[in-house]
Symmetry: C2
């Protein structure tokens, strides 16, 4: 089959790799019908994370079950399924409290599993899915094509934006600030809106992303950054600050802004992989600003968000503004790298 | 009147100071009937926090209202009142959400107020209380003497331990770890117990404090520290970690232990003033361990805890194991400094 391989920074190729097969009784073989590129895929693509050797890449996909192992109970060939960006058994003590991203037996796409068997990455024609019952979430019927982009966001960005809002403790009537206007930040706006936030201040300076933020429920836009942006948010909130803050970038500057605009007693829900973040414990202590979040357990939120998407209560698929066939996956990366696209969809 | 003055590290004296009076229509004059020494008073006493000039000290007291200003509505002379360790108006936007420790018009005992008028510290015969309606919490009747120590803990240590448990999100049935066996940590054990925690692991290596921890509801004691202590807690929790962790010390080592023993998705509620704490954002992100807490808004919890104490549902006054008259306040400091006492009560 064909799949993407990252050879070196900036060098994405689509190549022939071994056809995956069911290897364990808990596996499923999924034919990928849509995949995409994540902001976190850009870290190695840009060389910010080291690329030591060519490797499979991609961790967001939906598709059709082709075959299941003998012990798989909840899935049948022909099912449409959504894969979270990590696989998990959904039964260990961490999964049981909704922390599937810390599953004792879980792992990531594109790496070897605990037994040394290759687990395919998401940007390819097929994927061997370990722990299929725990990992995959199916729809009752194969959904209409126009719902597929929104269902695909539940693999990662929408579930991650949702986790930021859950971690920040967004409640009905809240004033919420969202730092970051990437796909995750935009989904954070949508999540806060769905949770009933009354006012959502999106910090965004790209016009195209501002439009999506508005569509997703942002009531205010702040285009400035750093101390200037913080001052603007404080002015918008009559000097009080936000009831909840979503930090969806992962840089030190973004976290500093998130903490600065939080009102005393508020929580910053953060989901951007931290790069150079130092937490100002003295300020956090003095103002009772909490910091909560991490690798999103999107599996926890998948059934609920699937139902919301199927009922068209939320339409997060709007974040996809670029689409290519698998053979041209390199274009998907380039478009996101050059900020010509918010998020690129790949069709195998 | 007489009051304590910290002249230099280790040098506490009881001296004559001006008699306070009602100076603003929102003031109350309180005759202090019981005060105490806080763990945080030991920072300057030990010279860890600088002492630039002699200063009034003490921020925990209960007493009888002697006189009120013309605008005070909720208090009358003769009322028994509990003072939180900070004064607050209880009406500003921060107070309205229960963050009285961030009151826009509040402040601390023993310093000048916004108008430059001296606000007495708590270890003295009388205190001028600013914003009396917002600050003081009265009991319906003057309570029995044996309830006074427990009511006095609501000024700070019990409210602060309670805040650690609230911040950590302790829920019924939880397994909770409490790091720190000072008065606040012990009150944290009591708070977790009152909130229905099923298992409470107190990290304590002092026999006298272990006894109080047991009395307050600790089900397990861990006497080791650092990596050894962390390993012991993990073993006690079958490798999973705690559902909620209370960090009641404020040192880097205590915070590191608190984070290490938290299960994925758990929150560390911290109330120890941070000294040399660096938060490990990478580990926190990877395991979704949140950090929440800060300067406790004890005023928020005072009415509820007052009722619990009066009903003898909780008896936090057990933390007082040393008592002196005001004239011998220096002994109260020395006993706590030398760890001969958990907490010293001072009777003016």
């Amino acid at each position: 089959m064909k799949a993407t391989i990252l050879h070196a920074p900036g060098d994405i190729r689509v190549e022939e790799v071994p056809d995956p097969q069911v290897q364990k009784p808990t596996d499923a073989l999924v034919r990928v019908t849509a995949a995409c590129v994540c902001g976190s895929d850009l870290w190695p693509y840009r060389g910010i994370n080291e690329v030591r050797r060519p490797r499979r890449i991609g961790h967001e996909f939906v598709g059709i079950v082709e075959e299941v192992g003998a012990e798989v109970r909840s899935l049948r060939p022909g099912d449409f399924v959504i894969a979270p960006f990590l696989y998990s058994d959904n039964t260990c003590p961490h999964c049981q409290v909704g922390m599937q991203s810390a599953c004792a037996n879980g792992g990531g796409w594109g790496h070897k599993d605990a037994d040394g068997l290759m687990v395919d990455a998401g940007q390819g024609e097929y994927v061997r899915v370990p722990l299929a019952d725990g990992t995959l979430v199916a729809t009752r019927e194969v959904p209409d094509d126009d719902l597929v982009p929104s269902l695909l966001t539940l693999s990662d960005v929408m579930g991650t934006g949702w986790h930021a809002a859950v971690s920040a403790g967004v409640r009905e009537g809240d004033t919420v600030v969202v730092v970051g206007d990437g796909a995750v930040g935009l989904c954070g706006v949508l999540a806060a809106s769905r949770m009933g936030a009354e006012r959502i201040i999106a910090m965004s300076r790209h016009q195209q992303r501002q439009l999506i933020a508005r569509d997703f429920g942002a009531t205010d836009l702040v285009a400035t950054r750093g101390e200037e942006g913080e001052a603007e948010v404080l002015e918008l909130t009559a000097g009080v600050g936000a009831d909840a803050v979503l930090e969806c970038v992962g840089t030190g500057e973004a976290m500093a802004t998130a903490i600065a605009v939080a009102r005393p007693g508020a929580t910053v829900g953060y989901v951007g992989v931290p790069h150079g973040v130092e937490l100002p414990i003295g300020d956090m202590f003095g103002r009772n600003v909490a910091v909560a979040g991490g690798v999103a357990p999107v599996r926890q939120y998948l059934p609920q968000l699937r139902d919301d998407v199927l009922a068209e209560v939320v339409i997060p698929g709007v974040v996809f503004d670029h689409e290519v066939p698998l053979e041209r996956a390199a274009e998907a990366y380039a478009a996101m790298d050059e900020r010509r696209a918010v998020k690129s969809l790949i069709r195998p």
